[in-house]
């Protein structure tokens, strides 16, 4: 029999990273934000402050300029400890002036419309980074738009059962589930799910953020941060699936629209210090003879990972990923049932020296939980170009 203690041991003790994250969060708490309830002392202090202020105004107009100005608590100061990835995922678009200038040339928008919803997908270059903005707007009043997907297999939608405040932060004070809220307010539910489809040569996502607006004519939008492969044309296809949910909580109708974006290949606006692709030496890892070859691009490491099949026809899922503990960026890999996978690892922070890059090479068989892994280090096959050189 498994006891609570067995499960506690299985979940383990806080690791160093978690402890550090907690310490950082606690030390970053602003101390001066405490405001006790209004007391008699506060009233006296306020009165004294007003008297002082009055005195300053009457007696010394010049004093005001010498008084220290209150410094508002900086969002940056409190948010500085939080990881870059989080900032990237949650940040609103902030385009550089150069990107703004080229926006008209590089932005491409795709549009599709169903009976209930209009979808817009837009892509914007910002340097070597691509932002995708996906918007879905309810065309008729009385619809509550939910960024969620109906689960055909289970005949349910988890998002509809979630507390309304979870999906709609503006409605955090409301009680009940999304479904309850819609029913009580006489709203029809419109489930919108955008499934992105990527061509193999296209840059792949680093991250996506979705959120929904509360109002019935609202929208949901996503931001995807990708990386522009310099020599590849880019085609993005988004499949937007729409479900209209009846009062009984079942989908009444389903419609699907596809939006395809053909993006021009553009010179990156932002030059990184690594000017030319740096080939990395081929690595023959011992984990079932997996062979890795990597090329360092300006903002990405492209890799090919080949698995020597044992010929028994067994379905093998092979994956390769950069070890995340380095916190140099996020990662994207492909998995396949064949013996070769390719993918790109995106560098979110410029690398100063492309020396050895630690990878963890992994192979999964059957379930994604059955992992075998091994650490390897990729070393440049030749010295990288001098930093600062342009292509």
């Amino acid at each position: 029999m498994k006891t609570s203690e067995d499960f506690r041991l299985a979940l383990g003790q806080p690791d160093a990273g978690f402890d550090r994250a907690m310490r950082q969060a606690l030390s970053a708490l602003p101390a001066a934000a405490h405001r006790p309830a209004i007391s008699r002392r506060s009233v006296w202090a306020l009165a004294a402050s007003l008297a002082l202020l009055l005195g300053v105004i009457i007696l010394g107009p010049g004093l005001g300029r010498q008084s220290p100005q209150p410094t508002p608590l900086s969002q940056e100061a409190t948010g500085a400890v939080f990881p870059l990835r989080k900032a990237l995922l949650e940040a609103e678009f902030s385009l550089s002036p150069e990107a703004e200038a080229l926006l008209a040339q590089s932005a491409r928008a795709g549009y599709a419309q169903t009976a209930h919803t209009a979808f817009t997908v837009e892509a914007v270059h910002d340097g070597a980074v691509l932002h995708f903005l996906i918007q879905a707007k309810a065309l008729q009043a009385g619809y509550l738009l939910v960024d969620a997907q109906w689960n055909e297999a289970q005949g349910r939608c988890e998002a509809l059962e979630a507390p309304i405040g979870k999906l709609f932060p503006d409605l955090a004070e409301e009680e009940g589930s999304v479904y309850d809220y819609a029913r009580h307010n006489g709203l029809k539910l419109l489930l919108v799910s955008c499934e992105d489809q990527l061509s193999h040569s296209a840059p792949v996502f680093v991250g996506t953020t979705w959120y929904s607006a509360a109002e019935t004519g609202g929208f949901c939008q996503g931001v995807s941060i990708g990386c522009l492969a310099q020599e590849n044309a880019l085609t993005e296809t988004y499949k937007c699936v729409e479900y209209v949910v009846s009062a009984e909580g079942v989908p009444e109708s389903i419609s699907t629209q596809q939006i395809t974006l053909d993006l021009p290949v553009g010179k990156p606006l932002r030059e990184y210090t690594i000017a030319a692709p740096v080939p990395f030496e081929q690595v023959n890892a011992t984990l079932d003879q997996i062979t890795v070859y990597c090329t360092l691009m300006s903002t990405a490491v492209r890799y090919t990972c080949s698995y020597a099949s044992d010929g028994d026809g067994k379905s093998i899922t092979t994956s390769l990923y950069l070890k995340r503990s380095a916190k140099q960026g996020s990662v994207q890999g492909s998995n396949a049932t064949d013996t070769t996978v390719t993918g790109q690892y995106f560098i979110l922070e410029p690398m100063e020296q492309p020396n050895a890059i630690p990878f963890t090479i992994g192979r999964s068989v059957g379930s994604s939980y059955q992992y075998e892994k091994q650490e390897i280090r990729l070393v440049p096959a030749e010295a990288p170009n001098t930093p600062g050189e342009s292509e």
């Binding site: 978690f18 550090r20 907690m22 969060a25 101390a31 990881p83 979705w210 990923y321 998995n335």
Partner: protein, 164 residues
């Protein structure tokens, strides 16, 4: 509540916070993000807490919300996280520990969380229900279903003598 007191009380529950994060999120970085964001929000909204004695339960509630938020974001990532090592932070864990952790994570969230709060963190049914904003009867039902699913997954009784 002063910052020092807040920090002290949070530090006392860091094992609990870690276990809750680990039961919800497989990626170490996500767990770090979740706890940082939860603590930040708890501090910013601490005046909404009417009774300081309920701080722990309140922080757990916020943390669960943060974990849920990250899970939602993760669903939008392609297969990235599945490719990443799901159990990287505990490489020293015994195979049996890995098995239990995986079994726990295979449970639906609504069954998993009551089990974690009640059996692993020692909260009573009433308190668990308050944290999850559910009726106590629902919590009991979910715990019963969770235990049954765990039993199926592990082919072994779980928490049998600990049913409070």
């Amino acid at each position: 509540m002063e910052r020092e007191e807040f920090a002290q009380r949070i530090t006392q529950m860091h094992c609990t916070l870690y276990r809750i994060c680990t039961s919800q999120l497989s990626c170490a970085q996500d767990r770090e993000d979740a706890v940082q964001e939860a603590l930040k929000k708890a501090w910013e909204r601490r005046r909404q807490l009417r009774n300081d004695a309920l701080l722990q339960a309140w922080v757990i509630r916020i943390l669960l919300n943060e974990c849920h938020k990250i899970q939602r974001q993760r669903k939008r990532l392609l297969l990235t996280d599945r490719l990443m090592d799901p159990d990287a932070p505990a490489p020293e864990a015994a195979p049996e520990g890995l098995l239990l952790r995986q079994a726990l994570r295979q449970l639906p969230e609504k069954l998993r969380v009551p089990l974690v709060l009640h059996y692993l963190e020692g909260y009573g049914v009433q308190e668990t229900a308050r944290i999850l904003r559910l009726p106590p009867g629902t919590v009991k039902t979910r715990m019963r279903a969770g235990r049954a699913q765990l039993k199926l997954l592990l082919d072994e009784e779980v928490f049998e003598d600990e049913n409070k």
